[in-house]
């Protein structure tokens, strides 16, 4: 394939990354950030899968069999533990503004500069080879694709991979060192990384599908043919002696790597915006690992079968197969997939390392020299950014040189594992540091240093022998002929592969020294303080400033100017305002700073220059006093008690408030009920007064006038009887309503035919209809399904509605239509009149009891005012609904529906 085409595509891809990152940053600036999304977070974690995965897994599967799986099983096993371990680390880093793994360890052990520097150096030594193999992978794939000898080119300016390294450096500088505060998130970079994760996965699966189904006839076919391979048996089993220990150590190594590799720490901890995102990542990430591994074996065996005997690097099978099949477009995409896997690792790892170098090596050095600190204090921010940018370029250059000098001779996986083993040395100090308060700085230092020395001796020295930097006799006879110092058989330990051997000795001594020395050495008060806060972070995270014990004299202006120097005028002011909001107590009149302010400022500075440099800067502007460990512990204990008392109080007061609220609403409800009852009573008595007035007047007149005309007497007596009936009706209805409202009313349920109910109701009122000369039409569907109901009660409703219609219909040409039919699972009944209608404003109220009489002096024509209220109760107790449709001047239509779903078989 044309060399320049491939180069052009590669740089186009880089340009795409630039575009994506800047788009994401613009979106974020506009408040529509991508990284608030847990899927982006989980995808960005897949930066774990580098060229090692993309090319190296196939190579390893083809040469050593299933062993390649171990480094994916480790993280998968680890993922469920993230909620315990990673969440705690994230919380600690957020609260303390920690931005690198070196800062994390140094912070935990009293912000010790030495510890931070050593961790940084180990990281740089351990990770640079790892970066270099990514460059190597890019160069090898370029070679294969273009048929040129890229790997063999002379270093630097004649070499394409040098320019690719420069391009990556530029991207990292632009999107990785935009802000001086390392705690600020690199949203553009994270989005680009997430995209790369998706891209490499998709391409790898496409390539796998091509090999499996395009070249061969599916998984079965490949495996069938693979059984013919001479070493198939060996590849698919792991029964030899070292197999088990190798598996075990690989799994352990990768479990630790997924947490402590600087790039994993960067994406999982520093770039985390929400702890809850871990929930998604805990299953998405293992799923990703699974998906990217599905086609590893088919491609490996496919390559073995296709290139049997030919000299094709097994690491490059995934690219070589499409090429040999003449699929140049697919090959180009596969190359880009590998390019994306490599670049994502390089970018993130370089950012993480450069922050580490600048904050843990350069800054402590600079601020430690008084001359520099005093003279350049105002330019420290610029210096910091400069050192980070320079750091990025230097790291990439070193990685490039390492690739040219050493990495060429080793496979991707071999170099990668050496890096894993390096960061594994941090595990005791970190895991111990967040769960064990007694771990001391000396313990951590001893463990890490000895572990790292052993790592160097058993893994790095042999590789130096391999490239001829050291004589081979070291491996065979031991240094100076001392046999028990042979790097692969240290202290005479034999029978292990070199990784297991190295891990066994380094971890054994590392853990042993960490625990042993910790138990024997004493913590300083500051160490103790940090230990308490780290281990109990979930207790302290909201009151961090008051959980750091500090004693001394500091002045607010000094603290402020310190913040201005490192954060700039604007950010420093914002930060001071935020502090005031959190701790609104008034400032001391003498201008002395509260210890909380000192801690707060130190925390802010930590985010910029790392915790140990921040410690130096703060202590240079304040006068500190020694505090004993007992004092620290006592104050912490007090503050813990205070926290728990506070929590208890808050809980109590919440409960109290809730109880008060409940009481208040209950009271309100009672008051309302009381008012309703009062109103009901006054309305009932009011309704009773009218017939009583009439009866009393009539009776008195009859009594006082015995000589009254007979005709008048009869008329009077008739009226008395009628009014008594009215009283009786009223009392019955009041009692009815009361029974419905209190739920005491029982329905006498049975199958009811609506047609029958309508007919009987109309019959009962027929005399009245005739008297008023009303035209009453009944239109009920025949054979309606029966409903389960109380026939007498339903008749009561219909009689009420029809008699209302009789009362209110047009006095001259009265017309009433009663209709009934089945609709949507309900039986619907309408009673329509041609009266003067009802204002829609009152459509709801007329179903309230005594609505007509309430709070008004305008009286309704006739009736007790309870009929519709009772009708409503009856319909509702049948799970039905009643309402009115009407407009003034257009008559009224009262309707109710009764559900048939509660029906019973009709009585035939």
């Amino acid at each position: 394939m044309n060399y320049w085409l491939v180069i052009g595509v590669s740089f186009c891809y880089l340009a795409l990354l630039f575009g994506l990152a800047s788009w994401a940053e613009r979106r974020s600036a506009a408040g529509r950030s991508f990284v608030g999304n847990p899927y982006i977070y989980a995808l960005s974690m897949a930066v774990y899968c580098t060229a090692w995965t993309y090319y190296g897994s196939v190579g390893r599967a083809a040469t050593t069999g299933l062993g390649y799986l171990a480094i994916y099983i480790g993280p998968t096993l680890m993922a469920p533990l993230w909620w315990v371990v990673l969440r705690k680390i994230i919380r600690i880093c957020k609260v303390q503004r920690i931005t690198t793994i070196a800062d994390f360890i140094s912070s935990r052990y009293g912000k010790n500069i030495t510890l931070g520097s050593i961790v940084t150096i180990i990281c740089v030594l351990g990770i640079i080879p790892y970066i270099s193999i990514q460059l190597k992978a890019i160069a090898s794939s370029l070679d294969l694709l273009t048929g040129m000898n890229e790997v063999g080119r002379s270093p630097l300016f004649g070499d394409t991979s040098f320019y690719i390294a420069l391009g990556l450096g530029l991207f990292t500088i632009v999107y990785g060192t935009r802000h001086v505060e390392a705690t600020e998130r690199h949203e553009g970079m994270v989005t680009a990384i997430a995209f790369e994760s998706l891209f490499k996965l998709v391409i790898f699966i496409v390539a796998g599908v091509f090999v499996t189904y395009g070249v061969f006839n599916g998984f079965g076919d490949i495996m069938q043919q693979a059984t013919q391979l001479p070493d198939f048996e060996r590849l698919m089993t792991f029964d030899n002696d070292s197999g088990f220990s190798q598996w075990f150590w690989m799994v352990v190594l990768s479990m630790l790597a997924i947490l402590f590799l600087p790039r994993q720490f960067q994406v999982a901890v520093v770039e985390n915006v929400n702890e809850q995102h871990l929930n998604k990542a805990m299953w998405l990430f293992p799923l990703y690992l699974f998906a990217i591994n599905i086609f590893v074996l088919p491609i490996a065996f496919g390559g073995d079968l296709l290139f049997n005997g030919a000299s094709v690097d097994a690491d490059m099978f995934v690219l070589a197969i499409p090429l040999s099949e003449g699929q140049s477009l697919l090959a180009l995409m596969v190359y880009l997939g590998g390019f994306s896997a490599a670049t994502s690792m390089v970018i993130v790892a370089t950012i993480a390392l450069s922050v580490m170098v600048s904050n843990n090596l350069v800054m402590p050095l600079l601020v430690g020299i008084p001359a520099i600190k005093n003279q350049y204090q105002n330019q420290l921010t610029k210096l910091l950014l400069f050192s980070r940018r320079l750091g990025i370029l230097v790291i990439l250059l070193l990685a490039y040189l390492y690739y040219k000098g050493v990495a060429e001779y080793y496979s991707l996986v071999e170099v990668g594992l050496v890096s894993f083993a390096a960061v594994a040395q941090f595990a005791p100090a970190i895991i111990g540091g967040i769960f064990w308060k007694e771990g001391t700085k000396n313990g951590a230092l001893a463990g890490i240093v000895v572990g790292a020395v052993l790592w160097f001796y058993t893994l790095v020295v042999p590789s130096m022998v391999g490239v001829g930097m050291l004589p081979g006799s070291i491996l065979e006879q031991g240094p100076l002929g001392i046999a028990w110092l042979k790097p692969f058989e240290l202290f005479g330990l034999q029978g292990m592969d070199y990784i297991s051997h190295a891990m066994f000795w380094s971890m054994f001594l590392n853990v042993g020294l960490y625990i042993g020395v910790s138990l024997l050495s004493r913590q300083t008060s500051q160490e103790r303080n940090q230990a308490e806060v780290f281990v109990d972070i979930f207790k302290y995270s909201t009151v961090f400033e008051s959980s750091i014990v500090w004693k001394g004299t500091a002045y607010i202006p000094d603290i402020k100017s310190l913040l201005v120097n490192f954060l700039g005028q604007k950010k420093a002011e914002v930060a001071m305002k935020a502090y005031k909001r959190k701790y609104p107590e008034p400032e001391d009149e003498s201008g002395k700073a509260d210890p909380k302010l000192v801690t707060y400022a130190e925390k802010l500075l930590s985010g910029v220059i790392g915790s140990s440099s921040a410690r130096i800067m703060v202590s240079s502007v304040v006068k500190e006093e020694e505090i004993s460990i007992d004092e620290v512990l006592n104050i912490l204990k007090e503050s813990q008690q205070l926290i728990s008392i506070n929590n208890e109080l808050r809980r109590k007061s919440m409960e109290l408030r809730r109880a008060t609220e409940q009481l208040r609403s209950a009271n309100e409800r009672l008051k309302q009920l009381d008012e309703l009852k009062d109103e009901f009573l006054s309305t009932v008595t009011h309704e009773l007064r009218t017939p009583l007035t009439s009866i009393r007047a009539l009776s008195e007149i009859l009594y006082d006038n015995p000589e009254m005309e007979r005709e008048d007497q009869e008329h009077f007596l008739q009226t008395i009887v009628k009014e008594s009936e009215r009283l009786t009706r009223l009392i019955t209805q009041v009692l009815d309503l009361e029974r419905f409202e209190s739920g005491k009313q029982k329905l006498n349920l049975g199958p009811v035919q609506i047609e029958e109910v309508v007919r009987e109701s109309v019959d009962a009122l027929s005399q009245l209809v005739q008297e008023k000369n009303i035209d009453l039409v009944v239109d009920v569907q025949h054979n309606l399904p029966a409903i389960n109901g109380d026939k007498d009660r339903l008749m009561q409703v219909l009689v009420n509605l029809i008699s209302n219609a009789i009362k209110f219909c047009n006095p001259e040409h009265g017309r009433i239509i009663v209709s009934g039919y089945y609709i949507d699972g309900d039986i619907k009944v309408n009673v329509v009149d041609n009266g003067k209608g009802i204002d829609p404003e009152f459509h709801k109220q007329i179903f309230d009891k005594f609505y007509q009489a309430q709070n008004q002096n305008i009286r309704k024509p006739e009736g007790s005012g309870l009929g519709l209220a009772i009708s409503k109760k009856i319909i509702e107790s049948h799970q039905g609904r009643i309402w009115v449709e009407s407009e003034v001047g257009k008559g009224s239509k009262f309707s109710f529906v009764l559900p048939v779903k509660v029906n019973v078989p009709a009585n035939v």
């Binding site: 009583l692 007047a697 007149i701 002096n857 305008i858 009286r859 309704k860």
Partner: protein, 126 residues
């Protein structure tokens, strides 16, 4: 007011069962009786007949008794008319409002017709 002339009484109530006995009673007592079944009729009757006594219900379908009373008090030639409010509304606030709009007497329902007659006599003789 001349005793020779019959006293004019206007009875206002929307309940026929109350209107009927009161009309009978007034006629029996020798008054000239007018009846009205709602507020509008009542005001028309007031304007036309200028009654000496008005027995006035409060709760009516169109214009309430308070309004009718205000109307009466608004007429210059009705200064001497006596207004007796009769109502099932028995709250203190309702009664006070009755006197506020110018009623001479507020009788809660149900009432005794004998008491009513006594009061009418008292009011018309003074």
């Amino acid at each position: 007011m001349s005793s020779k002339e019959k006293l004019k009484v206007l009875v206002v109530d929307d309940e026929p069962s109350i209107l009927m006995p009161l009309e009978f009673l007034m006629r029996k007592s020798g008054y000239q009786v007018f009846v009205a079944r709602n507020g509008t009729e009542a005001m028309e009757s007031v304007d036309k007949e200028q009654p000496d006594v008005v027995l006035l219900d409060i709760m009516m379908p169109d214009v309430d008794g308070y309004e009718v009373c205000r109307h009466i008090r608004g007429q210059e030639n009705m200064n001497g008319a006596k207004v007796i409010l009769m109502s099932a509304k028995t709250k203190d606030a309702d009664i006070k409002k009755g006197y506020d709009v110018g009623a001479d007497l507020y009788i809660p329902k149900p009432f005794s017709t004998r008491f009513l007659m006594e009061k009418i006599k008292e009011l018309t003789q003074s």
